[in-house]
């Protein structure tokens, strides 16, 4: 089974940190990201640029853009990874070791684990 793991954080809480503090806590992530990739069980791991989110919709046949994420919430997705796990608890176990689930208690850090129904990958021509 494949699972999409979304790393959430509280945007306001993050803004209250100095940039040094923010960099210090986020610096824990790359090491585990590397570990995940080395384990062969993670296909992709990514962090997101959040200030430039736009949402695209078609309304009345017209494509419209709105600033910001599709769902307005104080918790926003800051990173994601796709992992291969034997079942939901296996996925939870792997996700729970990620700094996004293990650290940042005051910053609203959390990992949402979503089973992937179907996934196509570009295999090259």
């Amino acid at each position: 089974m494949r699972y999409l793991c979304l790393g959430y954080h509280d945007v306001d809480a993050s803004k209250r940190l100095s940039s040094e503090e923010f960099t210090a806590i986020v610096s824990h992530c790359p090491e585990y990201d590397k570990e995940l990739l080395a384990s062969g069980r993670v296909r992709i791991v990514a962090s997101l640029v959040e200030d430039e989110v736009v949402t695209v919709r078609t309304r009345g046949g017209e494509v419209t853009l709105t600033d910001g994420p599709c769902v307005e919430s104080k918790e926003q997705v800051g990173s994601f990874f796709v992992l291969e796990a034997s079942d939901l608890n296996d996925a939870v176990r792997i996700a729970s070791r990620h700094p996004a689930a293990r650290l940042g208690e005051d910053l609203g850090w959390a990992v949402e684990v979503r089973p992937i129904g179907s996934m196509e990958e570009y295999g090259g021509v």
């Binding site: 089974m1 069980r41 079942d87 939901l88 608890n89 296996d90 939870v92 176990r93 089973p115």
Partner: protein, 425 residues
């Protein structure tokens, strides 16, 4: 390289990955059980097993399959766990302590050999860990199915008609509790095992019952669960020859032997009296009867053994009218002494209704009803209705079938009750 050569290489790789897969299927639970003991932590053992399997998939195609794959997986898993802990010890104090304990212990070849001698004990202990007395029954069942039977969280959720996240939560909480209790480290000593066997047997029987008589949903049986329960029962008998372990396995086999005869092609229930007994599984019956004898021969007779002896009475009756109801009533008398519960009392009342008359059975069922026991149990009202019907009290029968119909949760039973009501109209 010719196309033929390429194909043969590809074929070899396929063979190796098939071999890894089949090795995983046959060995993974044994390897996990031993890793749990060596590492003292369920989750770390799972991770170690996963890592070892991944390395096997990488290395075996090139290096060949090791002569003792089980020992290879255990020792690779152990090294992988040390790797994991070395990384984590930089972060977590807890892991640091564990790392010292595990990495500090020497693991030469001789020690690995000794470690593998304990596999049957390890497996048994894993069952006991999963049925730790401080865990809720739901958690015991979920953990046993996942860790011992290797069902996935999603499969367990489907089998019990609950959300996968519910099962996942149960398992996460159960593991946290086991870790707090240090359960995998402080395994019950051999002398304590029989005392904790009750919880294990109950868990296995719960799994069986949910498979044999699904409490809710469209189908009456879920053979995946009955199959797992019987497999667990066999494991228990092999590992811990306790009379009640024999009794439980016998009971499950004797009940399951009627599987083909108890449902129509449309999924309707066929009652014992109407079953085609030639469809009963003779192999399971023979095995079940022998196990009952073995259990009885030990001289200590428990609840599962008595229930198995009752099932055995049905199994040996050539036809329904040949059932020895007097013996069944005496067995229920015995069971009532071991387990004085209203459910046993109800079953005994039904048997009395067969041995003597419907009115005699009815009198006993009315006693249970008047006490208010099992008021919400649909089978009490259904039994009352059946006895009233046989005693010619049609109106009372109708009321009780209607009450049973309100309480029933399972579709085939609902159809049976509706059919009875129609017959009375």
């Amino acid at each position: 390289m010719s196309t033929a050569e390429q194909r043969s290489r590809a074929g070899e790789t396929d063979d190796v990955s098939r071999l890894v897969e089949s090795t995983y299927r046959t060995e993974s639970r044994r390897v996990l059980a031993t890793l749990v003991r060596l590492l003292g932590d369920l989750e770390l053992a799972e991770e170690a097993l996963q890592e070892a399997v991944r390395v096997a998939l990488e290395r075996w195609p090139a290096d060949g399959v090791p002569s003792n794959p089980r020992s290879w997986l255990v020792s690779t898993g152990r090294f992988k766990a040390i790797d994991v802990l070395r990384r984590r010890s930089r972060v977590d104090h807890w892991d640091n302590e564990r790392f010292e304990a595990i990495a500090g212990a020497s693991a030469d070849d001789a020690e690995m050999e000794r470690a593998l001698e304990h596999i049957p004990d390890d497996q048994l202990r894993l069952v006991f860990i999963c049925c730790h007395p401080d865990l809720s029954q739901d958690a015991q069942v979920a953990l046993t199915l996942r860790e011992v039977c290797d069902l996935t969280t999603e499969e367990i959720a489907r089998a019990y008609h609950v959300r996968a996240s519910t099962v996942a939560q149960r398992i996460v909480r159960a593991k946290a509790l086991l870790r707090r209790k240090n359960a995998p480290v402080e395994l019950p000593a051999a002398a304590e095992l029989p005392a904790r066997l009750d919880a294990v047997l109950r868990t296995v029987y719960l799994v069986f019952n949910e498979g044999y008589m699904a409490s809710a949903g469209a189908a009456i049986t879920r053979t995946d669960l009955t199959g797992e329960a019987i497999r667990l029962g066999r494991l228990l008998v092999a590992l811990l020859p306790d009379p009640e372990a024999y009794g439980l396995l016998a009971l499950m086999l004797l009940q399951d032997s009627r599987r083909e005869a108890r449902i129509t092609a449309e999924g309707d229930i066929i009652l014992l009296e109407d079953q085609d007994r030639s469809l009963w599984n003779r192999e399971q019956i023979v095995e079940g009867l022998a196990l009952v004898e073995r259990a009885v021969a030990t001289g200590t007779v428990g609840g599962y053994t008595v229930q198995a002896a009752i099932a055995a009475e049905h199994a040996v009756a050539a036809e329904y009218s040949a059932t020895r109801w007097a013996r069944i009533v005496s067995l229920y008398d015995l069971l009532l002494r071991i387990e004085p519960t209203p459910v046993v009392e109800l079953n005994r009342a039904v048997a009395v209704g067969m041995r003597d008359s419907a009115d005699d059975g009815l009198r006993l069922v009315n006693e249970i009803l008047s006490r208010g026991d099992l008021a919400e149990f649909h089978l009490l009202h259904a039994a009352h209705a059946d006895l009233c019907r046989r005693a010619g009290r049609r109106e009372e029968a109708r009321v009780s079938y209607a009450r049973a119909l309100e309480l029933v949760g399972q579709e085939p039973e609902r159809r049976l009750l509706r059919r009875r009501l129609r017959e009375l109209a």
